[in-house]
């Protein structure tokens, strides 16, 4: 293979920009580029943050004085529910996703994320879902059961309106987008890095994001499952959480907090990752304890899953169980302290210089340490039983989230804004903005600890004046406005920065990471050619590396067949493995996002037939995604520059899409495990058991296993046929026929169940079968996709991926189906045993 002579930097730039860039005007809707979408995520998140902030102001206005008549409880309940929902789901999570999407490829030395169209689809789902949630406020039907939506208050009898449905459907919509972002982030970190960047040389920020994304993969499915179950209860009367029919309000609390506690660390870790990047730059020294920090964040990730019950210390769980959760909650302070002291040691052993980002890092230190200390207090069971659900908790959570996320994000904003804009601030508005935010925040929330200890419960819309809370609330309200002025000043500073900032040449802060080894503002393709990492990626030299890369001296410093190319590496060693070919800008993600919004809206208004049609249309649109991308012929290794070659992604055993399926199935399996847990939990704990009627084995139930087993075998057969170079379409068609057979058997098994609205036992059994039904249906889609891709010429013996994915899906469906049926068959015995013991 011949290589064309290297282009001049300018020509190379123009050639790359033409294929990587997003067009103007309406073509912006077709953007799939990580720089564009990362900025969009962050900007949109900031808008939702501002809306959430306005709600907070309304809350503080109402609470400023006793007996206030500014709003009544109907409005107030919507205000605080929406404030929490917006800040958690529409601000914090998307903000960290945006940061990751913008930064990761640049820090890892890649040109984009692994699945740019998925990034775009995730963005549209987030935007449309967010608009649905916020728009509900305009109609006065916003969610009003609090951001953790405790049942039975959020169930049909007590919240009959559409309010709770908006939360359940809207948030689930946004969560699914977050889950897909998590899968994409994981795969991008593991596969798309600069050659030579072994895992042990990866920047800490990427480690933080890897751990965060894995936490999302395992943390979000329980909530998504819980929301689906609750929506099934509200819409169709399946009583998973109704204590009068064998459900249990506590099941919701378990599922919610199983997500909800890790969520706090999901928010904190990326912010800590930003700190671990920023602090060494201003300490002018490498971070202390690289390996210890990675171990600490892994420990933090696991421990944070082991303390969900610390939100449930007052629900009447045995002291022994509380002790486990209490100890785990206290232990989580240790990996946090490891990081704090690693940062302090970095500064102590460095030559610290104080710049604006460090001012905000200081804000983080002081505020977050207080939040951590009150967190340890709340981990102590007897104290929590006093402080729980009081304003002490409100103060604590704001110290943790504002300290652990907002201050680091402000530091990150001042650190990376010059990267985004190519300008540096000239006005020093950032300093008064900091002091207003810092002082306003502490005045608002510090004394709020005392308000809580003096007995003020959360979520009361007003209070009489004889409890001694008046001056405390007035102080919080007035200071809240100081805080708001600080944020207004920050927003103004950002606008001024864009407008009047002074241009700078390169690497403003003298940072040692790859994100600065590129022109700033960054170009759409990030690196004109890809770097080689020979030492640690946190000891790179952007000042010399940047011009070399721009001159095309790295890998892939050329344009070939108008394809968007970046390098895929071996997961651990970082050796070059393949050339990843990424999709060009396309409107498909926008179209799919709009169609998915149709599904959500139709379900919201209970037009289920229309929802089904929209769902089918959404899947049909995914087939178009599939049609657009791929290689039509086997081509073998191709040149990547520097005289080396690598095969394209379709021809290697472990491309990004394969790992995305592995991780996606891990998330899916977690959801299934949560469903099994729910079924067993209700059996063991829920009131109103035993059920009036017990689901026995039916013929159809026994037939489920052979149907799923045969479908899996057919997928294996199809894959084998293709691997030996023959046409697998017959086998795929047989597989699809078996999928349809499985769907029929499962439908009949579902129909043979006793009325699932009668008791939670029947409802959970129906949910298990429904899960398998859904997976068989998606198996049909996988088969169809493989068939079409073969037809379009994207599949050969050397390019077998669609068939492998099809097989993985069917195997997963078989295993979960087996487990589900086994539990259904075991249930009568379990119910009998428990009754005998009672």
């Amino acid at each position: 293979m011949s290589e064309s002579p290297p282009l001049s930097p300018i020509r190379l730039h123009k050639a790359l920009e033409r294929i990587w860039g997003t067009g103007p005007g309406w073509q912006r809707l077709s953007a799939v580029n990580h720089t564009v979408l990362g900025k969009r995520f962050m900007l949109t998140a900031f808008v939702f943050f501002a809306i959430g902030g306005v709600l907070a102001m309304l809350i503080r206005a109402q609470l400023a004085s006793p007996h206030a008549a500014f709003v009544g409880p109907e409005i107030y309940n919507q205000l605080f529910s929406m404030h929490g929902t917006l800040m958690m789901f529409l601000f914090a999570i998307p903000m960290l996703e945006g940061l990751a999407i913008y930064l990761l490829p640049k820090m890892l030395g890649a040109r984009d994320m692994a699945f740019p169209r998925l990034t775009a689809y995730g963005y549209w789902c987030y935007l449309f879902g967010g608009i649905i949630i916020v728009a509900s406020m305009l109609f006065g039907v916003a969610p009003n059961s609090g951001w953790f939506m405790y049942t039975p208050l959020s169930s049909q009898p007590y919240t009959p309106g559409i309010n709770a449905d908006i939360w359940l459907l809207g948030v689930t919509f946004v969560e699914i987008s977050a889950l897909s972002a998590a899968i994409e982030i994981t795969v991008s970190i593991l596969k798309l890095r600069a050659p030579g960047m072994a895992l042990g040389r990866m920047p800490l920020f990427a480690w933080y994001m890897l751990v965060t994304a894995m936490m999302m993969v395992f943390g979000f499915p329980p909530l998504i499952l819980g929301s689906i179950l609750l929506e099934l209860e509200r819409a169709f009367g399946l009583p998973f959480f109704d204590p009068t029919r064998g459900g249990d309000a506590l099941l919701w609390q378990h599922l919610f907090w199983l997500f909800g506690h890790p969520e706090v660390y999901i928010i904190f870790l990326p912010a800590a990752g930003a700190l671990s990047t920023i602090i060494p730059v201003f300490a002018q020294r490498r971070i202390v304890g690289y390996h210890a920090i990675i171990a600490a964040i892994v420990a933090l990730a696991f421990l944070s899953f082991g303390l969900w019950v610390h939100h449930m210390f007052t629900v009447g769980i045995p002291h022994l169980a509380l002790a486990f959760f209490s100890a785990a909650s206290a232990l989580v302070a240790i990996p946090t302290a490891v990081q704090i002291f690693a940062w302090l040691a970095t500064l102590a052993h460095g030559r610290p210089r104080f710049e604006v980002p460090m001012l905000y890092v200081m804000g983080f230190f002081l505020v977050f340490v207080i939040g951590g200390l009150t967190g340890v207090m709340l981990a102590m069971v007897p104290f929590d039983q006093q402080a729980h659900d009081s304003y002490f908790v409100v103060a604590h959570l704001h110290y943790v989230l504002v300290g652990g996320f907002v201050f680091p994000m402000l530091a990150a904003a001042y650190y990376w804004l010059p990267h985004v804009t190519g300008r540096q601030s000239v006005h020093r508005i950032s300093v008064p903005a900091f002091w207003l935010i810092f002082i306003g925040f502490n005045l608002t929330f510090f004394m709020m600890h005392l308000t809580g200890l003096m007995g003020m419960p959360r979520r009361v819309y007003t209070y009489p004046s004889n409890f001694g809370w008046d001056w405390l609330n007035l102080l919080s309200s007035v200071s809240g406005f100081i805080l708001t002025m600080g944020f207004a000043l920050f927003a103004m500073d950002i606008v001024l920065h864009f407008r009047f900032g002074r241009r700078f040449r390169r690497n403003l802060w003298r940072a040692p990471t790859l994100d600065w080894a590129m022109p700033t503002r960054p170009t759409s393709y990030a690196f004109a050619s890809l770097p080689t990492v020979t030492g640690h990626a946190e000891e790179a030299d952007p000042d010399t590396l940047g011009p070399q890369l721009a001159g095309g001296q790295g890998y892939l410093g050329f344009v070939r067949k108008n394809r968007l190319e970046t390098l895929g590496v071996d997961m651990t060693t970082g050796r070059v493995e393949h050339v990843a070919i990424l999709p060009s800008p396309t409107y498909l993600p926008f179209i799919s996002g709009a169609l998915t919004t149709g599904v959500v809206l139709a379900m919201l208004f209970k037009f289920y037939i229309i929802a089904l049609l929209f769902a089918l249309a959404t899947f049909a649109s995914f087939l178009f995604w599939s049609r657009e991308k791929g290689e039509r012929e086997d081509c073998g290794p191709i040149a990547i520059g520097k005289g080396e070659t690598a095969p394209p992604d379709a021809e290697v055993s472990g491309p990004s899409a394969y790992w995305a399926m592995v991780i996606g199935l891990a998330a899916n399996g977690t959801g299934f495990a949560a469903l099994l847990f729910g079924a067993l939990y209700l059996w063991l704990v829920a009131p109103a058991w035993p059920p009036p009627q017990i689901v026995g084995p039916s013929l159809w139930l026994w037939l489920v296993l052979p149907a799923l087993g045969l479908a899996s075998l057919a997928s294996r057969w199809a894959q084998g046929t293709n691997a030996s170079g023959r046409d697998p379409r017959l086998q795929l068609s047989v597989g699809m026929g078996l999928d349809i057979a499985a769907l029929i058997v499962l439908s009949l098994a579902l129909a043979a169940l006793p009325d699932p609205t009668a008791h939670a036992h029947m409802a959970t059994m129906a949910a298990l079968l429904g899960y398998s039904w859904l997976h068989a249906a998606l198996g049909l889609f996988c088969g169809l996709n493989a068939l079409l891709r073969y037809r379009w010429g994207y599949v050969s013996a050397r390019r077998p991926l669609p068939l492998r994915l099809n097989l993985m899906w069917h195997d997963f469906t078989l295993v979960t189906g087996l487990l589900g049926v086994a539990l259904i068959l075991a249930m009568p015995g379990l119910i009998g045993a428990l009754e005998a013991a009672r």
């Binding site: 208050l153 009447g316 500064l347 340490v369």
Partner: protein, 227 residues
């Protein structure tokens, strides 16, 4: 003050915060359970103040006195500050808190304390007295002073939470479940209670009053109480 005999220096500090008193204040305990928790709080509070000053001080020193920390090897910082210090402190604290928690549980006693039922519905509490024949259901909780009482907390609709801050921590009223909390008022008097778990539009006003009577008057007071 009762705390004074247990932890004098802490009591001094808490006395200086006399603003902490109030009808719903956990820092103005009127029974052994709330008292134990208030003690735990003051211990944690002062420990936290010291820790905050330590971390804040270190932060200030690395800036104001560059190089002061170089004598301590980098990983020493991490091991001492990140592992040893919190490890020791948290072990002590968890042990202390579990010891306190264990004592507050409604253990079976040789002489079982009287039981009162607290039933939460949207949006009021109904108290009934299974131990006292002929007692009506009351909106005010009547208890004997100076001895423990077990409150059996249930709900008729959504999740509520029974909380009398000056007497003890809270316990949730969960539909279909039956939770017990042991409370005690040291002397006769009136105490305030609230619903602590958000339960809908009437959550704010779901307050109640606790009247503690001298033991010899208790039975009569319950029988005469307004329904």
């Amino acid at each position: 003050m009762k705390r004074a005999r247990i932890l004098p220096p802490l009591a001094l500090a808490s006395a200086s915060l006399s603003a902490c008193a109030g009808p719903l204040s956990t820092l103005d305990p009127a029974g052994p359970s709330a008292d134990a928790v208030a003690n735990l709080w003051w211990v944690m509070f002062w420990a936290s103040v010291l820790l905050f000053l330590l971390v804040g001080g270190l932060w200030a020193l690395v800036w104001l006195r560059p190089g002061f920390g170089r004598s301590l090897a980098p990983m020493r910082w991490v091991v001492l500050g990140g592992l040893v210090m919190p490890g020791v402190l948290l072990t002590l604290l968890v042990g202390f808190a579990l010891y306190i928690g264990e004592r507050l549980l409604p253990h079976a006693l040789a002489d079982p304390p009287p039981r009162v039922s607290a039933h939460g519905i949207m949006w009021q509490w109904q108290f009934s007295y299974p131990d006292i024949a002929g007692a009506a259901t009351t909106p005010t909780l009547h208890i004997p002073a100076g001895a423990p009482v077990d409150i059996v907390v249930t709900s008729g609709d959504v999740v509520h939470s029974f909380w009398v801050p000056r007497l003890a921590g809270k316990i949730d009223a969960i539909p279909g479940h039956r939770n017990v909390i042991r409370i005690q008022a040291d002397r006769p008097g009136t105490y305030e209670g609230v619903c602590a778990e958000f339960c809908g539009d009437g959550h704010t006003t779901m307050r109640f009053r606790v009247e503690a009577h001298a033991p010899q008057d208790y039975r009569q007071a319950v029988l005469e109480a307004a329904p």
